[in-house]
């Protein structure tokens, strides 16, 4: 009786300790770092320096814009792919594997793949030249055209990380018994109505997970941006890196990290609230 009561706690204790040690503690350290001055007292100096920095506004803008463009695009694409996959009776696994290949590629490698396409002597210019559309190789990814870099990053991110959303949604779709869709069909729902009125509402838990996960990861975007644009397209995670490494100022770097954290928490809360499953629905 006694051991049974304490056993669950004993079993989860190692993982809790692990998380506390490797996540909670560094998190706390970073928070403290961001609000501690050189003398050791409490200060908002780091945040003020961050906000006054030339790059801060752009970094914030581009980070939010990227998340705003990339995440919905990925969810819509992944949803479409998952629905298409559900319509297959044969070769389902083959498509699933092919579509999830990008999951195996690191984000830096993905950035470099797309750099090879967009760089001055890259595949895109070679192709356009071969087609006779341009005379000279174009400079696509320069500081003068941040929007080009932005689009290249969007393309790379969509290509690289849609698969994770896709996998979550495929798993979610498989959990929905097909009888609901069948019942809807018998009662006269068109495929479109079945999707909107039955499949999508029942997929809400998986959508929520995918959205939270992807939004948090999108707010941390770094390697792809560095590979494609360097600091020509500043983002928050990148700035934290530069302040820590190049400027040797962990305090401001920590302030950036805290901003990313704050936005992530806010976004998660918004998702949880907007897509809250009504208590009564829980089966």
């Amino acid at each position: 009786m006694r051991t049974e009561r304490y056993l669950p706690y004993a079993l989860i204790a190692p993982s809790v300790l692990f998380l506390l040690f490797f996540f909670a503690w560094p998190l706390l350290e970073a928070l403290l770092l961001s609000v501690r001055g050189g003398g050791g007292g409490w200060t908002l100096e780091n945040f003020q320096r961050m906000a006054a920095d030339l790059y801060f506004k752009d970094a914030l803008k581009y980070t939010l814009l990227l998340a705003l463009v990339v995440v919905p695009l990925q969810v819509v694409l992944a949803l479409g792919m998952a629905m298409l996959l559900g319509g297959l009776s044969r070769g389902r696994d083959l498509f699933l594997y092919v579509w999830t290949i990008p999951l195996g590629i690191s984000d830096l490698a993905a950035g470099i793949v797309w750099l090879a396409i967009f760089t001055e002597r890259g595949y895109l210019n070679s192709l356009l030249q071969a087609l006779g559309l341009i005379e000279q190789p174009q400079l696509w990814l320069s500081y003068e055209t941040p929007w080009m870099i932005f689009l290249a990053v969007v393309a790379a991110e969509v290509w690289r990380a849609t698969a994770i959303v896709f996998v979550i949604l495929v798993a979610g779709l498989q959990l929905i018994p097909k009888e609901y869709s069948e019942a809807a069909e018998v009662f006269g729902a068109t495929p479109w109505q079945r999707f909107w009125r039955v499949t999508l509402p029942l997929l809400k838990p998986s959508l929520q997970v995918a959205l939270i996960l992807r939004t948090i990861l999108a707010l941390e975007v770094f390697a792809v941006v560095v590979a494609l644009g360097g600091r020509n397209l500043p983002v928050l995670a990148g700035e934290a890196y530069y302040w820590y490494n190049a400027y040797q100022n962990p305090g401001v770097a920590a302030a950036y990290a805290v901003v990313v954290l704050g936005i992530s928490v806010l976004a998660t809360l918004v998702y949880l609230r907007l897509m809250r499953p009504r208590q009564e629905e829980a089966a």
Binding site: E179, A183, E185, V186, F187, G188, E280
Partner: protein
């Protein structure tokens, strides 16, 4: 005009033949019950009629339309699913309203139909709840109400009352029968419950192993089973079958001298229902003797298990009948209720 006609439908799942050339016609406004043991293909047949499953062979007609290739929503039917399939993300009200919303009926009609269907199934106090907050039987009634609300011409029901308590089932059964007769709905109704089948059906289609073995009015299915299977499946206790020798075109059973159909072989099965045996404590003319093996008091009557020449069979007697194990009794079957069957195939001989 909304009859259902199924012609020679075959369906194979992998290597397993679930339907083996099924033909069935349900007339306009008729109430037909599909009755058969678990796994005989009832749900499969219903799903093929609904269009949720494609037959390998054969055609399906609803009214004068060949719907074999039409999708479910074009078939204009309603269905109660065996596993309910009540939408978990919609309230009871919205579940019942689902079909009406798809048909884009006016808000007044929608409200009226939903409320009427809910009242009929006694779930009007549950309209605001979600399915997760309902019991199995309540969910099942939502599924029935959802089908009734659309006022279909053709209604397919797959064991719609299976999860209700005996009293409620009795009541719902009567109400369904009244409602569907009033609305002149053509109904195909699946059940395991033979009492339900007998009470509801204009005609019963008895299925076994992917085929329809008898399709007739309840009384005829009961009294004149087409085979040993039907006689044994319908009736509780089931029909008795005594294996008897044929000698010179006569069959002797105690002091009974019976004339089997002309085409019998050396042996024949005599089918007789337990309640069609008159039981006497003393010897009678035109009767046969048997030993009592077991006496089971069932309330309205006693169920006797008896032994005749090494074959066990059952008979029912009034509750005050003096019977005890080991006793010898004399039985006289009602001559008009005898059924002759072929021992090899189990099929009944045509009655002359």
């Amino acid at each position: 005009m909304a009859s259902i006609r199924v012609e020679n439908v075959e369906k194979t799942f992998g290597r397993f033949k679930a339907l083996n050339g099924v033909s069935l016609e349900v007339r306009d406004q008729e109430f037909v019950v599909l009755l058969g043991p678990s796994g005989c293909g009832k749900t499969t047949l219903l799903r093929i009629i609904a269009g949720l499953e494609q037959a390998d062979k054969g055609r399906v007609w609803i009214g004068d339309r060949d719907v074999t290739l039409l999708p479910p929503r074009a078939r204009r039917i309603a269905m109660v699913f065996q596993n309910y399939a009540v939408f978990p993300h919609l309230t009871v009200y919205e579940n019942i309203a689902f079909g009406l919303r798809m048909q884009k009926v006016s808000p007044e009609k929608l409200k009226a139909n939903v409320e009427r269907a809910a009242a009929l199934m006694h779930i009007e106090n549950l309209l605001g709840r979600y399915p997760a907050q309902l019991s199995g039987g309540q969910r099942q009634r939502v599924a029935v109400a959802r089908a009734l609300a659309v006022e279909p011409e053709v209604l397919l029901m797959d064991e719609p009352l299976s999860n209700l308590d005996a009293l409620l089932r009795l009541e719902m059964r009567a109400e369904l029968k009244r409602l569907l007769a009033e609305s002149r709905t053509t109904t195909l109704y699946v059940t395991h419950d033979q009492v339900e089948a007998m009470s509801l059906a204009d005609r019963i289609a008895v299925m076994n192993a992917g085929a329809i073995v008898q399709y007739d009015t309840p009384m005829r299915v009961y009294q004149e089973p087409a085979s040993v299977f039907v006689g044994g499946f319908i009736g509780s206790p089931p029909m008795n079958f005594l294996r008897l020798r044929v000698e010179g075109q006569r069959v002797r059973l105690g002091s009974l001298d019976l004339e089997p159909p002309a085409e019998v072989g050396a042996e024949v099965l005599l089918g007789v229902r337990p309640e069609d045996l008159e039981v006497y404590p003393a010897e009678q003319p035109q009767s046969f003797a048997a030993q009592v093996l077991v006496v089971e008091p069932l309330g309205p009557h006693l169920l006797l298990t008896l032994n005749f020449a090494g074959q066990a069979f059952k008979a029912t007697v009034p509750p005050d009948f003096p019977a005890a194990a080991g006793q010898t009794l004399w039985l006289r079957p009602q001559p008009s209720r005898l059924r002759w069957l072929e021992p090899g195939s189990g099929r009944a001989f045509a009655t002359g």
